[in-house]
C-alpha cells in the first residue's frame, strides 16, 4: 500500500471530533487553557510589543524629530512618500533583492539539506562548515570580507584575471553592487538549511520502512513521503526568509557604509528607514515608511498563506 498524501486545508476553525463531543464545558475549558498558555505572550504584547507598535503607528501620522513632541500632520508623510524618488528606489531595490535571493537561498538550503541528510560520514562537519557563514552574516567583519572578494583587487577579479577578463570594482558599480548583497544572502543559506534538516529528521522513519517494504524506489519515496511532509517547513522558511529579506538591513548598512550606495543601488528599504530615523531625525516619516512596509509584507504573506492551501500538507 503506497502512502499517498493529499494536501489538506490550512488552519481551519473546526475542532476535531473528540473535543466537540464534550460540548460546552470542553470548549470553555479549552478557552481558559488557551489563554493560560498564551499568558506570557499576552503580557509581552501588552508591555513590550503593542505599545511601541501603536506608538509608531501614531507617529507615522506626525512630524516628530525625536527631541521635541510629535506634531500631528495627518497623511502628509504618506503623500510625501508617493512623491519621494528614493522611496521608490528603495522599494524597487528591496523587491529585486527578495525576488532573487529568497528562492536562490532556499534552493541551496533545501538541496544541501537533502544531500546532507543521506547519512554521509562527516555529516556534522559539513553541516557546520555550511552553517559557518550564517554565523558571520550580519557582523561588522563582513564588509571587510566582501571587499576582499568583490573589490577591485578582490578574489573575483583575481579569478577573472586568470582567464584574461579585466573586472571592475563590483561594489562600486551600481549594476553589480546589489548582486554582491544577493550573493551574501545566498551565502548564508545555513540557517534555512538547518531548519530543513530538522524538518527532514522529523519525518517518521516507519513511513519510509513501510514504503520500502512495498518496494518503492528512492525517487518514489522522495516524491511521496519526503516532499509532502516537508512542505510545512518549506512554507515556514519561505515566509520567514521573505519577511526577513524585506527587512534586511545589516548587510547593506555594513557593506555600503550606511549610504545605500553607489547611487542608492543598495538602498534597502529598512536602510532608508534607518537613515530617516537616525540621521535625519525624521521619525514621523520613518514610522510611516515602516508601516507601509508592514502592509506590503502582510499582503504578500496573506497571498502566500492562501496559496499554501494548494501545496502544503499538514499531518493534523
Amino acid at each position: 500500500m503506497t502512502a499517498t498524501l493529499r494536501p489538506v486545508d490550512a488552519p481551519s476553525g473546526s475542532p476535531p471530533a473528540g473535543a466537540r463531543s464534550r460540548g460546552g464545558r470542553g470548549r470553555r475549558s479549552q478557552e481558559l487553557a488557551a489563554h493560560l498558555f498564551m499568558s506570557p505572550w499576552l503580557i509581552g504584547l501588552a508591555l513590550v510589543t503593542a505599545a511601541p507598535m501603536l506608538a509608531s503607528l501614531y507617529l507615522s501620522f506626525t512630524d516628530y524629530n525625536i527631541m521635541s513632541s510629535p506634531r500631528f500632520v495627518g497623511l502628509d508623510n504618506f503623500v510625501r512618500m508617493a512623491g519621494d524618488a528614493r522611496f521608490w528606489t528603495s522599494a524597487r531595490v528591496t523587491s529585486l533583492y527578495v525576488l532573487v535571493s529568497v528562492p536562490l537561498q532556499l534552493a541551496f538550503a533545501l538541496l544541501l539539506a537533502l544531500v546532507l541528510d543521506r547519512g554521509l560520514r562527516g555529516l556534522s562537519i559539513y553541516r557546520s562548515a555550511y552553517y559557518l557563514p550564517s554565523l558571520l552574516g550580519s557582523s561588522v567583519a563582513v564588509a571587510v570580507l566582501w571587499k576582499q572578494i568583490f573589490g577591485q583587487e578582490g578574489l573575483v577579479n583575481q579569478a577573472l584575471d586568470l582567464i584574461g577578463i579585466q573586472g571592475g570594482n563590483w561594489l562600486q558599480n551600481p549594476d553589480s553592487a546589489l548582486w554582491t548583497l544577493i550573493i551574501l544572502n545566498v551565502w548564508t543559506f545555513g540557517s534555512p538549511m538547518v531548519i530543513f534538516l530538522a524538518g527532514l529528521r522529523q519525518i517518521p522513519e516507519e513511513l519510509y520502512e513501510a514504503a520500502r517494504v512495498d518496494g518503492a524506489s528512492q525517487l518514489r519515496m522522495f516524491r511521496h513521503i519526503t516532499i509532502p511532509l516537508l512542505t510545512p517547513i518549506v512554507f515556514f522558511n519561505l515566509i520567514l526568509q521573505t519577511i526577513g529579506s524585506f527587512q534586511a538591513f545589516t548587510q547593506a548598512h555594513v557593506v555600503s557604509g550606511g549610504t545605500g550606495g553607489p547611487v542608492d543601488s543598495t538602498l534597502f528599504y529598512t536602510l532608508y528607514i534607518y537613515q530617516q530615523a537616525f540621521v535625519n531625525f525624521d521619525m514621523g516619516y520613518a514610522s510611516a515608511l515602516a508601516w507601509v512596509l508592514l502592509l506590503a509584507i502582510a499582503v504578500i504573506t496573506a497571498v502566500h498563506f492562501t496559496l499554501s492551501r494548494y501545496w502544503v500538507f499538514y499531518g493534523d
Partner: protein, 302 residues
C-alpha cells in the same frame, strides 16, 4: 487521508535514523558517496573562503591586512589578539561572559514562552486563535527601527537602561515570533490522533503538551536553541542602545568598537577578535546539532 500507513504500530525503538539498507544499495551508495564528498568539499571551500581569509588576516600585522590582502601572509604575528583583547578597559572574556548570560537566558525564555504559545495556537480551539496568530505574524513584519525608540523610552522610564533586563525579559514573554511560528509549524506536523488518544484517557491540555507534544517537537526546540543563541550572540543594535557601560558590553559591541569609520586602524584586531568570537558559536552549534540527531531517536511514542 486515504492511506492507513499512519496506523502502523509505532516501533522506533531507539535505533539510528536510517535503518540498515540492503547490500546492493549500499554498494552503489559508496560510489555515489565519493562523488558526493568531492562536490561537497569543493563547495565547502567556496563557502569558507571568506572565513579562511579572515583567519589568515587575524595573524597578519594590522596595517598589512588591507594593504596586502593576499591570502598567503608575508608576516605572521599575534599582535592583533593582544591588542584586541582589551576593549574599553575590560578583557574580552568579560564580553563573552555577558553575551553568554544574555544568550542562555534568552534561550530559556524562548523555549518556555514560545512553546506554550505555539501549542495553544496550533492545538487548542479558542475564538481568538486566528486573530492572535495574525498578530504574531504582524509582530514579525514590523521593522525593528520603527519600534526601537518607543521601546527604549519604555525601558528608560523604568530605569532599566544599562542592564540586561530589556534584552532578556522580552524573551520570556514570547516576543520572538519567529520561534512561535516555527514551533507551530512543527507541532502541526504531529498527528492529532496522539493528542486525542491522550485526552480520551483523561489528560488535560497541559498534560498533552508536556507528555506528547513537547517530546515530539524536540527538533524544533533544538533549532530554537541554536538560533536564539546565535542571534543574541550577534545582536548588535539592541545591545548597543541599552548597554552603555563597558563592563556590560557584549561581543558585538566590543567588536564594533575595534574599528572606527573615521580612522583606518584596527582591522587586524577586528579580524582576530571576530575569529575568536566565532569559536563559542561554532562549538555551541556543533554540540547542539548532535542533539538534533539524537532527538529524533527519542521521539518514540509512549
Amino acid at each position: 487521508m486515504s492511506t492507513s500507513t499512519l496506523d502502523v504500530e509505532p516501533s522506533l525503538d531507539g535505533r539510528s535514523v536510517r535503518g540498515p539498507a540492503p547490500r546492493s544499495i549500499r554498494r552503489s551508495r559508496r560510489r555515489g558517496a565519493i562523488l558526493h564528498h568531492g562536490v561537497l568539499i569543493l563547495f565547502g571551500l567556496f563557502m569558507l573562503y571568506p572565513l579562511i581569509w579572515m583567519a589568515v588576516s587575524a595573524f597578519k600585522p594590522s596595517h598589512l591586512v588591507l594593504t596586502d590582502p593576499s591570502i598567503i601572509p608575508t608576516e605572521l604575528t599575534l599582535e592583533n589578539f593582544v591588542d584586541g583583547w582589551v576593549v574599553g578597559g575590560f578583557p574580552f572574556w568579560v564580553f563573552f561572559g555577558n553575551s553568554v548570560v544574555i544568550a542562555l537566558s534568552s534561550i530559556l525564555g524562548n523555549l518556555l514562552s514560545c512553546s506554550l504559545t505555539a501549542y495553544a495556537l496550533a492545538r487548542l480551539q479558542f475564538r481568538a486563535r486566528n486573530v492572535y496568530f495574525a498578530i504574531v505574524l504582524v509582530t514579525v513584519m514590523l521593522p525593528m527601527h520603527a519600534v526601537v525608540i518607543p521601546q527604549y523610552i519604555v525601558f528608560s522610564n523604568l530605569g532599566l537602561v544599562n542592564t540586561f533586563i530589556p534584552l532578556i525579559l522580552p524573551k520570556f514573554l514570547a516576543t520572538d515570533a519567529f520561534f512561535i511560528f516555527l514551533m507551530v509549524q512543527f507541532i502541526r506536523g504531529i498527528p492529532r490522533q496522539l493528542d486525542e488518544a491522550a485526552s480520551i484517557d483523561g489528560a488535560g491540555p497541559f498534560r498533552v503538551f508536556r507528555s506528547i507534544i513537547l517530546p515530539l517537537m524536540v527538533p524544533a526546540l533544538i533549532t530554537t536553541t541554536i538560533f536564539t543563541f546565535i542571534w543574541t550572540w550577534n545582536d548588535f543594535f539592541g545591545q548597543l542602545i541599552y548597554l552603555t557601560d563597558s563592563s556590560v558590553f557584549t561581543v558585538p559591541i566590543a567588536l564594533n568598537a575595534l574599528v572606527d569609520s573615521e580612522s583606518n586602524q584596527g582591522t587586524g584586531t577586528l579580524m582576530a577578535m571576530s575569529l575568536i568570537s566565532l569559536i563559542p558559536l561554532l562549538l555551541f552549534f556543533a554540540f547542539a546539532q548532535k542533539h538534533l540527531i539524537r532527538g529524533i531517536a527519542t521521539t518514540g511514542l509512549k
